[in-house]
Point group: C2
Chain length 481, copies 2
Amino acid sequence: MINFRPVVFTLGTFLSMLSGFMLIPLSFSLIYAEDTSIAFIQATVLTSIAASICIHQGQKSRIHLNIREMFILTSITWFVVSLFAALPFTFYHGITYSDAFFETMSGVTTTGSTVLSGLDDMAHSILIWRSLLQWLGGIGFIVMAVAVLPFLNVGGMRLFRTESSDWSDKSTPRTQDMAKNLFFIYILLSLACALSYHLAGMTWFEAINHAMTTISTGGYSTSDQSMSHFSHSAQWISTLFMLAGGLPLIIFVQCIALRTLLVWKDAQVVGFVKFLAFVSIVLAVWYWFTHDGTHPLDALRLAAFNVVSVVTTTGYGLTDYGAWGAFSFIIFLFLMSVGSCSGSTSGGIKIFRFQIAFAIMREQLKVQFHPNGVFTEKYNNRSIQPDIVRSLVTFMLLYAAVVIVITIILVLTHLDPMTSLTAALTAVANVGPGLGDIIGPSGNFSSLSDTAKWVLSIGMLLGRLEIITVAVIIHPKFWKF
Amino acid sequence: MINFRPVVFTLGTFLSMLSGFMLIPLSFSLIYAEDTSIAFIQATVLTSIAASICIHQGQKSRIHLNIREMFILTSITWFVVSLFAALPFTFYHGITYSDAFFETMSGVTTTGSTVLSGLDDMAHSILIWRSLLQWLGGIGFIVMAVAVLPFLNVGGMRLFRTESSDWSDKSTPRTQDMAKNLFFIYILLSLACALSYHLAGMTWFEAINHAMTTISTGGYSTSDQSMSHFSHSAQWISTLFMLAGGLPLIIFVQCIALRTLLVWKDAQVVGFVKFLAFVSIVLAVWYWFTHDGTHPLDALRLAAFNVVSVVTTTGYGLTDYGAWGAFSFIIFLFLMSVGSCSGSTSGGIKIFRFQIAFAIMREQLKVQFHPNGVFTEKYNNRSIQPDIVRSLVTFMLLYAAVVIVITIILVLTHLDPMTSLTAALTAVANVGPGLGDIIGPSGNFSSLSDTAKWVLSIGMLLGRLEIITVAVIIHPKFWKF
Ligand SMILES: [K+]
Ligand SMILES: [K+]
C-alpha cells in the first residue's frame, strides 16, 4: 500500500527550502533597488503557504520512504518545485506562465534553453534566480544520482551502488555524510570557478552567475552573447570547469579522502576525457583547415570549448557551431546525446552506457564463433550482469522512444524537421541549444508554441530523471499490490 | 587453421552460376536485337574464366565449411560476385566502374538506389539484368538468413535456429530440402505477382521486371517515374506483394506443408502487420486532412503504398513523400531503419529486434521495484536468454556506429547533413531512396562523388550481412588460433 502522506511531507520540506532560497534574489532586488521585489515577495509567500499546507497535511512518521514512495517522490518533486519556482518570472515579467515554467524547468533540470532575451540589461535579481535554479538543480540531481537512482537500479545504475546508496537503517549516517561531502565539494568548486572567472575579467556578479551555471553544466548566461561576451582566458577557464562539472562529483570526494588521484583509475573518467580530447582535436584540425587565417590556438579554443560545452551538456554558446559547415553540424548532432559521467550534473545517455555496450560487443564478437564460450566482461572491476544489460536496453529504447514522440509532436506544431529533432534531443539530454537558425546557439526558444514549450519541459524532466524513473510509475504493475 | 581453398572453390561455383545467369539478359539482347550483346558476351566470358580459376585453385574436399570459413565466405561472396556482375553495365554503358559497381551492389543487396536515368528508353537487356540481380540477391539472402545466420547467431538470430540451420552432417538433406522449398515458393510468388501486374495493365516485360523487384523488396523499376507510372490497381497489387516480400518466406513453406494459416501465430508477422496498418492509417488520415480535395481512398493508397514500400525496404517511389510536409518527412525518416521480418528479403533493424527490446523493457519495468524478481520474458515461446540480449546490444551499437561513420564520410564529400544522414540510413537498411531533393524518391544517386558511391556500396553490403558477420571477421581474435 502506498502511503502518500510521507511523500507530501517531504515535498513540503522541499517547498519550504525553495521559499528560503527565494530570499536570495529578493536581497539582490533590494540591494540593487530593482522593481522586482514585489514579485519575489509574492512568490515567497505563495510558496511558503503551499509548503506549510504540505507539511501539515503530510506525515513525518518515518525517515525512510519505501521504494515505491521514493519513485513517486523523485518524479513529482522536480515538477512541483518548478511550478512554484516559476512564479517570480511570471509575476515580474508579465510573461505567460508557459514561458515562465519552461524557463524554470530548463533551469532546475540544468538544460539552459531560454525564452528570455535582453539578458544584458535584465534585473540582477532575475538573473541570479535563473543561475541559482541551475545551481540547486545540479546538486539536487547529483545527490539523487548518487543516493537514490543506484538504489532503484535505474538504467544500469546499480553499477554505481555504493555504501552511500545502501538504504538500510544502519547506513543513514553514512549517506548523510556523503551528501554533506558532496555539497562541500560542490561549493568549493563553485567558489574556485567564480574566483577564476573574476581574475579572467568578469565582474563579481558575472563571475558568480557563470560559476553557478558552469559547475551545474546548466548553461544560463547573463549575456545574450553567452560566453563569446567574455575574454579568451575566461573561455578556457569555462572549458576546464565544465569538464569538472561533467566528472562524477563523488570522485573529488574520494580524491580528497584518500589523498590520491585515483580519478585516473576510473574507467568512466578516463573514457570521458579521452573521448573529449579526441573529438576536440579532430574538430580543431578540421576548423583550422577550413577557416583560412585562423590561429591554431583559436581553432583549438573554439573546438574544445564547444565540444566540452555540448558533451557535458552545458550548452554555452561560443559562435554558432552549427553554422561552421556540414561536418561540424553532423558532429554536434551526434554529440548532443552522448552526455558525460554518471554522478555528474550533466544529462544525456552518459559515457558508461556506451562503455558497457562496447564491452558487451567486444565480448560478443569474441564468443561469436565459440558458441559455448562464457561471457565474462567486466566494467570498472564489476562484472556486467544480465540485469545491467537488460536495464541498458530498456534505457536506450525508452530514450529513443521519448525523442521520437517529442519530435513528432513538435513537427505537428509546425516546426521544421531538423529543428524539431534537435529540440527533442537537446531537451531530453539537457544540453540547451539545438541546431539551426531558430533554436541554435544564436537563437532562442521564445518563438515556439506553448504546446512545444510544455512538451519540451516534460522532455527535460524525463531526461533529468533518466526516463526509467517515470516509466516505472506509469507501469500498471507499479500500482498493483 | 583456416583453409581458404574450400572457400575459393565455393566462390568459384557462385561465379559460374553468375555467368550462367548472364545468358538471360544476353538472350533478351538477341531477341530485341539490341547493341548490348557484346557487353554481355564479354562479361560472361570474363566471369567464366574467373570461375574456372577459382574452381581449379580451390578444393572440393568437404561439403561442410567450418564456422570460420563460413563467416569468410558469407562476407566476400557478395562483394566478389558484385565485382563481376557490374561488368555488363560498364562494358555497354561506358559509365565509370564506380557507377557500375554501385548499381550492382545496390541490386544484389536489394537496396535499389540507382545512378541511371532514362530508364523508360533503356535497353531491355540492361533492365532485365538489373531486375534479375535483385531477384537473385533476394533469394540468396533468404537462404543465407534461414540457413547460415542463425547458425552463426548473428544479432540474436539464434532465436530463428531451426532444424534447417543445424549444420551437423545428418541434417544436410533437410537443409537442402528447405532451400528447394524456399526457391519454389519464391518462384511461385514471383509468378503470381507478375500475372497480377499484367492483369493490372503492365506489359509482360514490365510485369516480369517489377515482379522480380517487388518480391525481392529491391525496388528497381523500368520507369524513371517508378510505380507512379502505372495504374492504381497495379499500385495496390504492389503494396500487397511488397508486404508478402517483407514476411519470412519460410512461413509460406510451413503454411503449405501444414495446410494452415499458422502465419498468424507468429509474433513477428502479427507485430509487423499491425505496425504497418497503424502507421498507414495515421498517415492516410493526416494526408487526407492536410491535402484538400483528396479522395479518402487515394490518401489510403498513397499512405499504405509508401509506408509499406519504406518499411519493407522496397523503396518504390510514388510521389515524393518527403515533400508532403514536415510530419511525413520525420515519420519516413524514422521508418527508414525499422525493417520487416527476419527471414524475408528486406533489410533494416527488423521487427523482431524491436519486439525483443520491448519484451525486455516490459519485464525490466516490472522487476524494477522487486530487486529480487526473476526475469522470464519469452518471445515466440522461446525464452530470451542473456546471449540474445547481448547480441541485440551488439547489433544496435554496430548499426548506429556504421550509420554515423558513413554519414560523417558523406558530409566530408560536401553533401548536406540531411542528405548524408538519410543516404547512410537508406543504404545500411537497404531501402533505396533517401530524403530530400538530391536522393529522395524523385532524385537519383548519380550526382554523388565516387567516394560517396563506394562508401554507400559498402554500407549496403554491411547492412545486408547484418553487420556483425563482417565485424566478426575484422575482430583480431577471429584470426588467432
Ligand atoms: K545544459
Ligand atoms: K530496396
